[in-house]
Symmetry: C2
Subunit: 138 residues, 2 copies
């Protein structure tokens, strides 16, 4: 299916987007607005239930995300040789994880923030919408 | 230099950020706001003079960027094995390239949008601010 006239871009089905998000990537880019300016920052993440979670340090721009902030979360992969690639975009809202039991469970889990220290926030992003595109190789 | 308390993140100097942007990446993620919602979409790009340029198809979300829209542009690289990586963030404004001579020059240039067809827009992003971070391997 050609989504964009004149291009080779194919829309990905929702299930394929979820598969790529769960199993095929571990670093994504969070897009949000701070002080009226868009920002994009990389985070390592995991899918937990029906949302994306990551941890970040106190005092960073990511930790300034307030509850209910609208965010975008993007993952992609690309191959220069074949001019091919795919990307998945999640749109949702962020909220800090504050429940002690949930925090304890996340800290025991497989996600280890690469930059993590003692004073970390955990943030959960709802997957309100998910879409993806693939550019097949030439 | 530890920028974030308790982490191993190092701030990159401006010159290093510009080097990474010019020579070490070819796909970046554009962050912007459309209909009050943040979006992050990948584009292949090049640095042209003192700005970032990319082409996109008519009718896509990227082509809806209006002149003067504030954007973020992010590149990164990461290594799972060493829990290491770097990222560079550009903040600036977008404007469509409309000058015929400039368009002709860009079309003759090295950048070939992977999804490019006959009806493309060219967009230029000013590099108003640039910053970067490196997470050295463990």
């Amino acid at each position: 299916v050609n989504d964009d006239e004149g291009t080779r871009l194919e829309e990905l089905a929702r299930e394929e987007c979820l598969h790529l998000l769960r199993d095929q990537s571990y670093v994504g880019r969070l897009g949000f607005v701070a002080d009226d300016r868009p920002l994009v920052l990389p985070v390592n993440y995991m899918v937990d239930g029906d949302s994306v979670v990551f941890s970040t340090m106190v005092g960073t721009k990511l930790s300034a995300l307030s509850s209910g902030t609208r965010v975008a979360f993007e993952i992609d992969e690309h191959h220069a040789l074949y001019h091919a690639g795919w990307s998945v975009l999640v749109q949702g809202t962020a909220r800090e994880v504050t429940d002690p039991g949930e925090l304890a469970r996340l800290r025991r889990g497989p996600l280890r923030s690469w930059a993590r220290g003692a004073r970390e926030h955990w943030v959960r992003i709802s997957i309100d919408e998910i879409s993806g595109r693939r550019l097949p190789g030439v």
